[in-house]
Amino acid sequence: MAVKSYIEAVRDAQDLALGRDENVLIFGEDVGKNGGVFRATDGLQTKYGVDRVFNTPLAESGIGGLAIGLASQGFRPIMEIQFFGFVYETMDSIAGQMARNRFRFNGTRQMPIVVRAPYGGGTKTPEMHADNLEGLVAQNPGLRVVMPANPADAKGLLLSAIASNDPVVFLENIHLYRSLKGEVADGYYTTPLDKAAIAREGKDVSIITYGGMTPVVLNAAESLAKEGIDAEVVDLRTVSPLDIETIGKSVEKTGRVVVAQEAQRIAGISASVMAEISERFILSLRAPIGRVSAPDTVYPFAQAENDWMANADDVIAKVKEVVNYD
């Protein structure tokens, strides 16, 4: 067990996957010598060769098509979209093609593809880089959308994603890449897909969150504890499909829910979570479900990010509202 940053865990997983299976390929813009703009693939081309880890021309749709074609030839492609804000260029490959191909071929062909991409705000990237577009991909049947919130999960979930025969969009939070470190087990292990984690046990309120918002929520939960509010934090990990069972157990236990996301209110995953809770567990609720999100503007210019993004105080305020409802 060693303490690793989130990005080191991502690299570790890819290194292990390349070492275990010669069908695993990594490609994207600058993933070769440069090791990716965030160094997520640093050293992997030197170790595994240009046939396994290679740069692509700068064209996201081409990268998506390449992944689909290679997957159909028995490879297990890990395609990197340099920033998830660039995903629009390859939405047909992801949503129109790879998500639908298993269905279209009547289950006779698989699409074992991982689409890796950094996302999220707080690092003052130029516009079109940071957007939270998980909702865009999560609404496509045939895709899994995985958003790890800590280094140990980043490694275990990425190894599960690579092993999956279903296409997985694997979103890595840019802000967490280097700001978050944690214990990461050595060697190969997997963390199951489609399973949420209880990131903090509590009895008074369930805060359901995912990805880059999770550390913010955990901080908020610690502050709330000091004020006598014991919050349970559910980290969704896989945001599509949702782990209804874990969500349900937590809601039934606490009877109060806040859903927190980095994305704008109109976007993201919170609406789906709230709808599922409303339909299935409403009789367990003792207060309306609260929501914390970014405002419904286009992603802001860099200097406004800190004001724009929801923070721990927003979470604390919303939790108090829900807890003090009756």
Binding site: D51, T56, P57, A59, S61, G62, G64, G65, L66, A67, I68, G69, L70, A71, S72, Q73, G74, F75, D92, S93, G96, Q97, R102, F103, R104, F105, N106, G107, T108, Q110, P141, G142, R144, S164, N165, D166, L193, D194, P241, L242, D243, I244, E245, E276
Partner: protein, 378 residues
Amino acid sequence: MSNISNLNHQILDFATQLKAQDDNFPTLSVLNNDGQIVDEEALKRADLSNDDLVKLFSSMLLNRQLDIRSTKLAKQGRFGFFAPTAGQEASQMGTAFAFRAEDWLFPGYRDIPQVVAKGWPIYKAILWSRGHVLGNEFKTEDGQPVNSWFPQIIIGAQYVEAAGVALGLKKREQNAVAYAYTGDGGSSQGDFYEALNFAGAYHANAVFFVQNNGYAISMPRADQTAAAHLAAKGWAAGLPSIVVDGQDAIAAYLAAKEARAWAVSGKGPVLIELLTNRFEAHSTAGDDPLRYRSKEDIADWWKKDPLIRMRKYLTDQGLWSEDQEKETIAQIDARIDADIKKADQVDKQKISDYLKNTLEVPSYVMREQIKKFESEGR
């Protein structure tokens, strides 16, 4: 005012450059409109035996009969979506004849005959057309795999995917290629260029076809691009790129054969523009070509019917007769009839199967839905 150097003058001579773009793509031609060979050496290089020639023409007749029957059945509401192919038989079957079972076909929605030529049963093509999932199982009658993808609807997607397969074949050191078809409209798609560029950059085993059939639904080719030749778009990606008479099955075959040999040897992809025409509507679902083209134009193209010239050539060579044609058409029609019956007997699709096929590991909610639909027999 000072004069610029000769070299700089040449660089800035835009008019001459446009002229060069016009002149640099002569059309490959072997068999002319009257069924005469215009290039004996090219015919030799095609190296088609008499038996091959008859097979190739028979496949063109199958294509035409499928077109005639499908259109009729569509009018009766017994087919499904159908994109007519009349006029494109040489372009489609001439090229397809150059590929082998191990090669991977990426068709557009009009390229059903090439998939059938690869062994996809006609009843499966009918099922595809009707929107039945079993039409997307690419297997022969006796269950052998057919190396084809479904006819692509999002035109351009098949090109980037073909580039991926082509790279895969190269990595696996397979003696095979990926070959993809799109139309003049498809050549306007961004994916078209991305595919050429990717396959070119990786020297991947790909052959790309543009069947320039004159119209992207109602958009004339001339309005599609300022490029004098669609093949020229391949030059931008560094590909050998040629223009071929798409009404000439022998030229189409020769071009495809040479391109396959080039691509399979690891030299990289080739782009082939086939000059052809769609004689009929874009699809049987309501398109009226007379809204955007004249009767005269259509009639002129019918005179360049690829079947006429091939039939004449074969007949002149003593390889074909009217009786043979009647018999072949009767056999094809009987085959289509049998396949329609077979398609009619296929079980209804089940929503629960759809749910099972969407992901290998269904989600909690999908499992609930499977249970519900199964309990309802749906």
